[in-house]
Symmetry: C2
């Protein structure tokens, strides 16, 4: 195995340039104008996997293409590890507050800044480069399957279909979800839960066109105001979501799990103060920060627009107002049911002076995996070897919609692994990746393959 | 006098082209990038006034230039009428919902569509063209002073200074405010009150940068949500403004005035249904529509922005959110006091989980003029001759900030006149002017000069 580690060290400069090349492709899945970029990113990944000796192809779907590659040279007697990742990214514009072009990677202070640096192109590249190191220096101890999708940031629905239709091809003993990031740069954590996310658009309509606020102000219910009034009724003053039935399907935490989650609290608190850094903490008072993030659902306003909010002033009474709303879900909530609950409550809140419409945009279900399984335990040991510290158990607040489908269709043991730090600006401006963590991530993946080869006894 | 009417009819095609030429200049006063256009519009007006025989000049100020022209050939024995108008316009972009370029006038079905068509370039041009008709066909019965400003849509503060410093030059017997528009195309109304307007920006700050809504959702008070919660507390469910002290300085209506205002209600109601056309009426239940528009103050959300509200979806937890808020004021409210009341109330409403800031952007005071004065009565008769119907008294919902300064500094009788229809999309997309009303407006102005010459007995 030593040679694979040497290979990673010896080739780190080239690996870095390859990561930058991938980051330069603006593979934004939520904006149709980037469809060609998505395809370009997929083809780039396939070319790299073929170069290192994997069988790989771009698989077209009704949406964005899937990238799949495999190396089965360890033989039927060896275990097979399938790792999932995604190569699509969130939208980004320099005007959002970036210090440099989000699609022109900049290396500074041991970090690379670019959209997708942490979410999730460094994870994708860590997987390919680990495979490359093993293939270039000897024989990997496991069969390797890599599955990268191009619509994680939108819906994953075409990947779900592909997984359901390709159970044999994707068959594996262990399925790794490689996305998300860790709470601390030095203290790894081992995730076993992901939140789902259902996204929606709420639009409020008033007069058929914008009006002069002098001519009609005081006689028309302003749609921005009406939207604000609806939004204000979606939480109580303690931060609980007030949508009737919203929490009904949430699995309660037992005492043992709460005790495990509490162990990570110093790091979660520190991260909150370093990264979130809001004027004060907020949220359901009956749950600690870790639980609020990983074990409780949310209702978030991701964006709002209406009337004239640009430079200058326009005393308009707007015709409409729009809010983008998403709910992070936890087991056993479902997207469809949550959408219906929110929709019905908003219908009830909407006064007759305006019209409101809640549109379902995309869905993604939550998942909890068995943290006591042999594969998760192998992951714990791999992190301990890679980082030098035993990980805490953690529940992640983010979402990887496909996890549930992979578990159901493949029946494999699931493991959540990621090698970045949560304070790296995923989804925001100046997203970046720490290069030392990226390096450790590749090493940890080598240890993980080794641990899996040992435990499966194959 | 007959020849002046003939002149207006004979030259209507040319007048129309001249109006279009002025409309093509995007003299947007609230956006600094249009400063050169503002100057171009001012110079265009001065050139036209000089051409018809008036002494005219562009007067620079610390802000946008003032346009002033006069013809004093009627002599000291004749009365002097000073008319105020404004040549600046609100911002407009085709993306706001315009059917055609807002700064490329389109003539269709007896209307001209362009930003500024109704607010207020047609009014400005009606004044110049009336003067032209009188000067070209004989001797006007009154001395004519025309004062056009370039920052009505922002603040009028430099005009106020100019008026205070040029009392002698602007001295007049009657001061006409020519802005705003009528409730009905056939039934004129005679305004005697204007609302003031104070504009403000409310910004709510949460975390120092946008966050991933999965990583921190549930632990950070979302600034868009917090903004919505603040906005939602600014009105009660009946539409009353809840800011403590907000109504304290509002002059109550007496029974006689309410009876006069009620006479216009059928037209106000019809206009509301034609133009506002919201799903239902809204506002203070103790006041009818006319009173809500003209005799009651408002607090309006003119625009809102925060997070990602564009095409696609971005599950961000935004760092900040912004609302543009304006209050329409009625006598004896003041901008400064109103700003302070709103600011203090918002400070009280803001939870410790976010930081909020209310910035004062611009001010404009309300005014009520004596509707029984000889000049207003002359205006009534002029409208009756021009439109064939005696006007109703009306209180306008819009604002002409300079009115109060003109009254105070010049000590003249004030008259409010305007020749457009309220349903012409002022401040919104597809703003337009009816050409037949524009024509009638010029005729009414000729009658008005005649009426003033008779009553002043000079």
């Amino acid at each position: 195995m030593t040679t694979a580690f040497d290979y990673i060290h010896a080739n780190q400069g080239r690996f870095r340039e390859e990561l930058k090349a991938l980051l330069r492709i603006p593979s934004v899945s939520t904006l149709p104008k980037h469809d060609a970029d998505i395809l370009r990113a997929a083809e780039w990944l396939v070319a790299d996997m073929r170069r290192i000796g994997m069988q790989a192809e771009v698989i077209p779907t009704a949406g964005k293409p899937i990238v799949y590659g495999e190396w089965l040279g360890a033989g039927k007697a060896a275990p097979t590890v399938l790792t999932y990742g995604h190569y699509d990214v969130q939208p980004a514009e320099i005007a959002d507050g970036w210090d440099s072009d989000p699609f022109e990677p900049v290396e500074r202070d041991g970090k690379i800044y670019a959209r997708g640096a942490i979410d999730s192109k460094s994870n994708v590249m860590a997987q390919i480069k680990t495979a490359e190191a093993l293939l270039a220096t000897g024989t990997p101890p496991v069969n390797i399957k890599l599955l990268f999708e191009g619509e994680e940031e939108s819906s994953s629905e075409n990947l779900a279909l592909f997984v359901a239709q390709n159970q044999e091809r994707l068959r594996c003993d262990v399925c790794v979800i490689c996305d998300g990031s860790m709470t601390d740069r030095e203290q790894p954590d081992m995730g076993y839960a992901l939140r789902g996310v259902v996204s929606m658009e709420l639009e409020v309509f008033g007069p058929p066109r914008d009006l002069h606020s002098g001519a009609f102000g005081g006689t028309v219910h302003n749609p921005v105001q009406a939207l604000a009034e609806i939004i204000a009724q979606l939480h109580d003053t303690d931060g609980r979501v007030t949508v009737p039935g919203f929490y009904d399907d949430v699995l309660p935490l037992d005492a043992e799990e709460r005790a495990e989650l509490a162990k990570a609290m110093p790091w979660i608190e520190a991260e909150w103060h370093d990264v979130a850094a809001a004027p004060a903490q907020w949220g359901e008072p009956d749950y600690n920060l870790h639980e609020r993030i990983g074990a409780r659902p949310t209702l978030e306003i991701n964006g709002i627009a209406g009337g004239f909010a640009g430079e200058g002033f326009k005393t308009v009474l707007p015709a409409r107002a729009l809010a983008k709303i998403s709910c992070r879900l936890v087991a056993d909530q479902t997207s469809q049911r949550t959408y219906e609950l929110v929709r019905d409550y908003i219908a009830q809140l909407t006064p007759p002076t305006v019209r409101a419409e809640l549109r379902l945009i995309s869905i993604g279900e939550p998942v909890v995996i068995d943290r006591h399984s042999p594969a998760v335990q192998a992951g714990l040991r791999a992190y301990e070897r890679g980082w030098g510290r035993r990980p805490h158990y953690s529940r992640a607040g983010g979402s990887v919609p496909i996890t549930l489908d992979l578990r159901r269709e493949l029946g494999a043991q699931m493991v959540l692994m990621a090698f970045g730090y949560k304070g790296c600006g995923a989804h925001g401006p100046n997203e970046h990746v720490y290069l030392d963590m990226w390096q450790r991530g590749m090493e940890t993946m080598l240890y993980f393959y080794d641990e899996i080869a040992r435990i499966t006894g194959k």
